[in-house]
């Protein structure tokens, strides 16, 4: 007698290798975060969790506070005198804005890549070595530089010209150099503020592929004004929008969910209007 037996392996095959909610590790726990510049609220009452080894994207129209938000994660808003931050951000359970917390220690673990590639006017090697040098991680410096460049998928292109000026690289290469620079200090988290918006489409795709590889080892948070980019690479997507209260504009978090949900059946109409392009 032929008994047909076939366990369907499909679920495991098709799954995007994301752990289910109960197995996710929380890296950032944001609660009631409010950021104001000189009394004007730029971002109001944001609460969400960022998970380990996920790519989390912040999308939304311009002025919705997403860049302000991401800069809170590595205390870069400290550099702006008029900025004040309320609420809490817990990083692995520790309050990032507690009085005893040193911003340098924070930035050692939480790196940032900016919108316009900003290589230092030094050699390629000196660029990547800068982080380790200022943080006194100078053992096996050349090894660190090579590993960082390998991880940023730039090593093969520059290994014979490490002493040349970083400014001689193309835009896409410069951005990968900036990523290598961050990786050289062995961070836990990579923050990316519109990393590909200044690049041509092919360089953009390379950066996206790179993020796909990097998320195995790092937790990545990215701000992007290109929602298709968020759709392509992010595991979780947070949609921010502008709200006007008492004549003042401030950014709020509208919806935060798994990317497929945001782009197939978002819960909030504002989200749907934005992702379908009907947002005015």
């Amino acid at each position: 007698m032929n008994i047909i037996e076939t366990p369907v392996q499909l679920a495991q095959q098709r799954e995007r290798e994301l752990p289910p909610p109960e197995l996710r590790e929380v890296v950032f726990d944001v609660s009631g975060l409010t950021v104001s510049y000189g009394g004007n609220p730029a971002l109001k009452d944001v609460s969400l969790e960022v998970y380990k080894n996920f790519v989390t994207a912040f999308i939304g129209p311009s002025g919705c506070g997403k860049s302000t938000f991401i800069r809170c994660f590595n205390r870069m808003n400290d550099l702006i005198p008029s900025a004040s931050v309320g609420g809490t951000i817990l990083y692995h359970g520790e309050d990032l804005y507690a009085p005893h917390v040193d911003a340098v220690e924070v930035r050692k673990r939480i790196g940032m890549v900016f919108q316009k590639p900003n290589p230092f006017p030094k050699s390629i090697h000196a660029n990547v070595a800068f982080g380790p040098r200022v943080l006194r991680m100078t053992d096996d410096l050349d090894g660190r530089v090579e590993r960082a460049l390998q991880q940023a998928a730039l090593w093969d292109e520059v290994k014979d010209r490490l002493d040349e000026s970083a400014l001689s690289l193309s835009g896409g290469q410069q951005q990968r150099l900036c990523i290598a620079r961050c990786l050289a200090v062995e961070p836990d988290v990579l923050l990316m503020d519109e990393p590909a918006s200044a690049l041509d489409p092919i360089s953009t795709t390379r950066i996206e592929d790179l993020m796909h590889e990097l998320k195995r080892e790092y937790t990545i948070v990215i701000v992007t004004h290109n929602m298709q980019q968020a759709a392509r690479i992010a595991d979780m997507t947070a949609f921010f929008s502008v709200q006007i209260e008492d004549g003042k504009r401030s950014g709020v978090l509208v919806e935060y969910d798994a990317t497929p949900t945001i782009f197939t059946k978002p819960a909030d109409k504002r989200t749907e209007d934005y992702v379908t392009g009907r947002f005015g």
Binding site: N74, M76, L79, P81, G131, L135, C182
Partner: protein
Amino acid sequence: MSAAALSAGRRRGVWRGRIFVALLLLSMAVGLLALGTLCVDVLQRGLAYFDSVLLTNGPSSDPDIAGARPAILATLYLGVLLILFTVPIGVGTAIYLEEYADRHRWYNRLLELNIQNLAAVPSIVYGILGLAFLVRGLGLGRVLLAGALILTLLVLPTVIIAAREAIRAVPSSIREGAYALGATQWQVVSRQVLPAAIPGIATGSILALARAIGETAPLILIGALTFISFNPTVMGPFTALPVQIYNWTKLPDEKFKALAAAAIIVLLIMVLLLNAAAIWLRNRYQKRW
């Protein structure tokens, strides 16, 4: 439409444009002409006396054996001391104002205002200042050091302003990138901002120096003596090249006037070399951005 319709002659304002360019060329010509005339005049008068005697001998009442060696040496010493004093103070002030100071504090705003004003003060006022506070007040006496200090005060505002411009020219994206990697403020300033600003600072300092070595009034006021036959020392009496020139022109003998012209040539060469160095530096580091 005919071909003539596209020709430039039919455009209104063509003549206005041409006249404008002509006026610009005229202005440039005036400047060049004046400079040219001065140079030619000086060369005519002084070339005969521009020889090794001028450079090796001390002053004398006999124009044929008179030289400006002490004056030249003093000017060189003044230059070196000037750089030693102005660069650290000037760059330090600039770094403080650009990187550390909170613009909104009243004392910082006062400081800025002060510096802008000092740059415009006539040099003879510095001379009086130096005489009162350095020569007499501090009791330094009429020495080279005092001269150097006065010249420092004179050009310090210029160096500060130039250094601030150079520091400001460093893009903030560089600073942000360095901060984001975990650098402290001092590390950002010392490892990124300053190295990038050095060409601008150097250029500004050299130009300030070039101006300072031609200053006569403050040096006269603090008593740069004119008949020094020995080589100057830092804590001793001195004379400087511009002062020497001034005094030679006052003498009745025509030959001294010619000597003065020769000394002017020496001064001009110094200034020219300094300016050339400044331009070379600026060009060399221009491409980095």
